[in-house]
């Protein structure tokens, strides 16, 4: 089953490209400077990955050293950064670091003048760090908290120095998770679109996604766009395949923290400083759009508008549908991957899921549009299908990375038993899989829901009259001077995302949250 789904996704992506390449070419399209584009993207993505990984790791280690009320809340908030719509983070960063932002106000209050600009390569890197470092921190703090108490107690009794503790205790715990985390962050930065558009500062800073958008919009060079997309995919593949092949199969996920080795004195102070700085740096850009949305009466105006409610209902519907589909597909793929014996076949199963991260939204939307046309369907009618497909593909890599470790655990713990007992599929699901997977399933449902809620890319070509989503309504308000409405809707979007992401997993996981 998993193989069928994997193949179907791969075929679908291939069909998208075939559709693009067979579209009429534009001879007059300007030359695309692939080399400079590639180097720009690589530099940006490497710097962003470095910034996100380094600060995320520091944050994880600092959090691991501390024990304070609200610690688990901090960790939850950190993990919800991943579902913050990128564009809200961009707006938030501007509200903090922009010329009229809080930092500038602080400078002015002390008689200084803030002359730094958030626009440019450094702005992009900062935004990516804000979006992705919490992800790294979240993954790693789980690993650190899971270090067996015996090891910690041994280290404690040997009186390990802070750096030796990192080298001897922390590093072995984090190392297996690092390649996957770094790979994911690199992909996110390499293919980043809204952040680079907003903060890149113009043509000097571009990614492939931005160039592809330009090739389609300005010069209608569909073949060129497809070529760009293929180069982007090739580069990403070169990165993802080794990770999927080499990265050790994740074992069991965090069993919760059972022992806290709290350092004292300077080390503790440094850890507190890091956590505090991290919170200020990462959380304020997420809070800023919320406050902006509550100002200026945008909220009451928005609540009084029919089109807002229509957009909200559409978004919630699409979100629910894609969350369910994503979970189903990810389960099938993860199960098949866990059951396969060789690393190669496991990678082959996981790869299609990553294809979307590598396939630009505009390629999916254009290709789907062309396919729908060639099937003789009206584009408007296919819009819901396109929207859900796009969202599902967007969430799949994250869904898989959350589910795969759990299915692997089931396979290694119960594989033999299940093989010999051969229970019916239903019994197997009810007695073994559901209890052990529900925590991961809750996370996957919430994540997929949030991703689909924040996704704008795919609908543009399909006509926006009958299928306006919340992000689209925000865009539309922004395009008509209605800034306050847009701010209010952005705040609503953020609140829904955070609420779903924090609450839904707990509901689905039930009482056995640490299974």
């Amino acid at each position: 089953m998993g193989w069928i789904v994997g193949t179907a996704i791969l075929l679908f992506i291939i069909a998208l490209f075939v559709a693009l390449f067979s579209a009429p070419a534009n001879e007059a399209a300007p030359e695309i400077d692939m080399a400079s584009l590639l180097s720009m993207s690589l530099v940006q993505a490497s710097l962003s990955t470095l910034a996100a990984t380094a600060s995320g790791t520091a944050m994880a280690i600092a959090l691991n050293r501390l024990d304070f009320p609200g610690r688990s809340l901090v960790i939850s908030v950190l993990s919800s950064a991943i579902v913050a719509p990128a564009i809200a983070v961009g707006i938030g960063l501007l509200a903090i670091w922009g010329r009229a932002g809080i930092v500038a106000d602080l400078f002015a209050a002390f008689g200084g003048k803030w002359t730094g600009s958030i626009f440019g390569l450094h702005g992009t890197v900062l935004a990516h760090a804000v979006l992705d470092a919490p992800l790294v921190a979240r993954i790693l703090v789980d690993r650190l908290d899971a270090i067996p108490p015996e090891r910690q107690k041994l280290g404690q009794s040997l009186g390990l120095k802070p750096l030796s503790r990192i080298r001897l205790l922390d590093w072995p715990a984090m190392a297996p998770a690092l390649p996957g985390a770094i790979g994911l962050v690199f992909l996110l930065c390499f293919t980043s679109f809204p952040v680079v558009l907003l903060l890149g500062g113009g043509p000097a800073n571009q990614t492939f996604e931005v160039a592809i958008y330009g090739a389609v919009r300005q010069s209608f060079d569909l073949g060129g766009a497809a070529r760009l997309a293929l180069v982007q995919m090739a580069v990403c593949m070169a990165l993802v395949v080794p990770i999927l092949l080499l990265a050790p199969q994740f074992g069991q996920t965090s069993a919760g923290r059972r022992h806290v080795w709290k350092p004292g004195g300077t080390e503790r102070a440094i850890a507190m400083l890091i956590v505090l700085a991290g919170l200020i740096l990462y959380v304020t850009p997420l809070l800023a759009p919320l406050f902006r949305g509550l100002e200026n009466g945008g909220l009451s105006h928005v609540f009084a508008s029919d089109s807002f409610w229509r957009a909200l209902i559409t978004s919630l519907g699409v979100g629910t549908l894609s969350a369910c589909l994503t979970t189903l597909i990810a389960l099938l793929l993860a199960r098949a991957a866990a059951a396969s014996r060789s690393k190669t076949s496991r990678a082959a199963l996981m790869l299609p899921a990553y294809a979307y991260l590598l396939t630009p939204a505009v390629v999916i939307s254009l290709g789907l549009f062309l396919i729908v046309r060639s099937l003789g369907l009206a584009a408007e009618n296919a819009a819901p299908f396109a929207l859900v497909t796009g969202s599902v593909l967007l969430s799949l890599p994250f869904a898989l990375s959350a589910l795969a470790p759990a299915t692997a655990t089931i396979e290694s713990r119960y594989g033999k038993v299940l093989e010999s007992l051969a229970p019916s599929a239903l019994t197997r699901w009810r007695l073994v899989e559901w209890p052990l997977l529900r925590t991961a399933i809750g996370t996957v449902l919430a994540m997929a829901f949030c991703f689909s809620l924040g996704d704008l890319g795919i609908v543009a070509l399909f006509g926006t009259e009958h299928l306006a989503t919340l992000p689209w309504a925000i865009n539309r308000a922004l395009g008509a001077y209605r800034t306050n409405d847009a701010a209010a809707m952005t705040a609503i979007l953020l609140v829904i995302n955070f609420a779903v992401f924090l609450v839904l997993p707990k509901l689905v996981a039930g009482r056995n949250r640490n299974a």
Partner: protein, 329 residues
């Protein structure tokens, strides 16, 4: 899984069934999103036109007018669109080159757009001028031309749009070319230090300006009228340049493939009639193509108008854009 696929297939087939809207013909207009939005001219025009046409008028919104054209290009002769509405002076030649549009039979003799318009295939319905918009309180003495703007200290920041993706950005390329001609390259390198960022669309640029990220934003001469009329806020103004502001005329064209040519012409006649034109100023925030009185709050038109010929624009746009981008790398 196979059941799920079957369900999806059934859903797809059901969705594909043509909608029956009675015997009334449907006139389909592809346009840009803001035109079709609840508060745009679309709903009002629909109401007004459907009262007399015995038809259903349907607006299909693409993200931009160029997006609407791209969609028609993708669909070719099988397109459902009868009209593409919202193309402008910068894109009309490209639309013409697709060979998808046909001549109209609308009487345009009453219309008056700067520089005149007598193309047989596209009907002008409104126009505007690109301009740099600023806060009057922050800028008591705005620059009166490009030279004054470029001579301001580097800390004076403007935000502009990317010419590859946004109409005003493309307009600026033509504007600078019309003013500086062969020395445009030098002009760009003098302008570049003032550009805080180049955004993909007008709305991002305008919002960065509203949030205080720049002193001026590349927008339209009509932008202050929105703040005055819709928000009762008099603190914005558009700088009129003494060398002239660059003109943008918005047009609509009928597709060759349309089975409703008569209805399409009737709609364009309605759009350019007094009833249709009265909707334009405060719903689309542009100047109407028919000379009617503007509501209070609109600035007088710029004294000087700049506009390059369509054929020059079409032949050179790519090179001029490259010339501009080179200054920003």
């Amino acid at each position: 899984m196979s059941r799920l696929l079957a369900a999806l297939a059934i859903a797809a087939v059901t969705l594909a069934a043509p909608a029956h809207a009675g015997d009334k013909p449907t006139l389909t207009v592809y346009t840009y999103d803001a035109f079709a939005a609840d508060w745009g001219p679309g709903p009002l025009l629909k109401q007004g036109f459907e009262a007399t046409c015995g038809c259903t008028l349907e607006f299909v919104a693409a993200d931009s007018s160029i997006g609407a054209l791209r969609r028609v290009q993708l669909e070719g002769s099988t397109t459902r669109a009868d009209i593409v509405l919202g193309l402008d002076t910068a894109t009309v030649e490209e639309a013409r080159a697709t060979g998808l549009f046909t001549d109209h039979s609308v009487n345009t003799s009453e219309l008056s757009v700067p520089g005149g318009w007598n193309a047989p295939d596209f009907v002008p319905f409104d126009y505007g001028y690109f301009a740099f918009v600023y806060r009057t309180a922050d800028l008591p003495q705005p620059p009166k031309n490009f030279d004054e703007l470029m001579n301001l200290p580097d800390t004076f920041k403007i935000v502009i749009e990317d010419p590859r993706t946004a109409t005003p950005g493309l307009g600026l390329v033509f504007w600078v070319k019309a003013v500086f001609g062969d020395s445009a390259r030098e002009a760009w390198s003098r302008l570049a230090p003032h550009v805080v960022t180049m955004t993909a669309d007008w709305s991002t640029a305008y919002n960065l300006f509203l949030q205080g990220e720049a002193d001026m934003v590349l927008s339209y001469t009509t932008s202050p009228a929105y703040h005055r009329i819709a928000e009762s806020d008099n603190s914005y103004a558009a700088a009129q340049f003494d060398e002239g502001n660059y003109l943008q005329i918005e047009v609509a064209g009928i597709l060759k493939s349309s089975p409703h040519a008569e209805l399409a012409n009737a709609f364009l006649s309605y759009l350019t009639s007094e009833a249709g034109q009265k909707i334009i100023p405060t719903a689309n925030w542009m100047y109407p193509a028919l000379p009617i009185d503007l509501p209070e709050g609109f600035d007088p038109l710029p004294a000087e108008t700049l506009l390059l010929p369509d054929d020059q624009v079409a032949a050179n746009a790519t090179n001029w854009i490259a010339e501009m981008l080179a200054a920003f790398r």
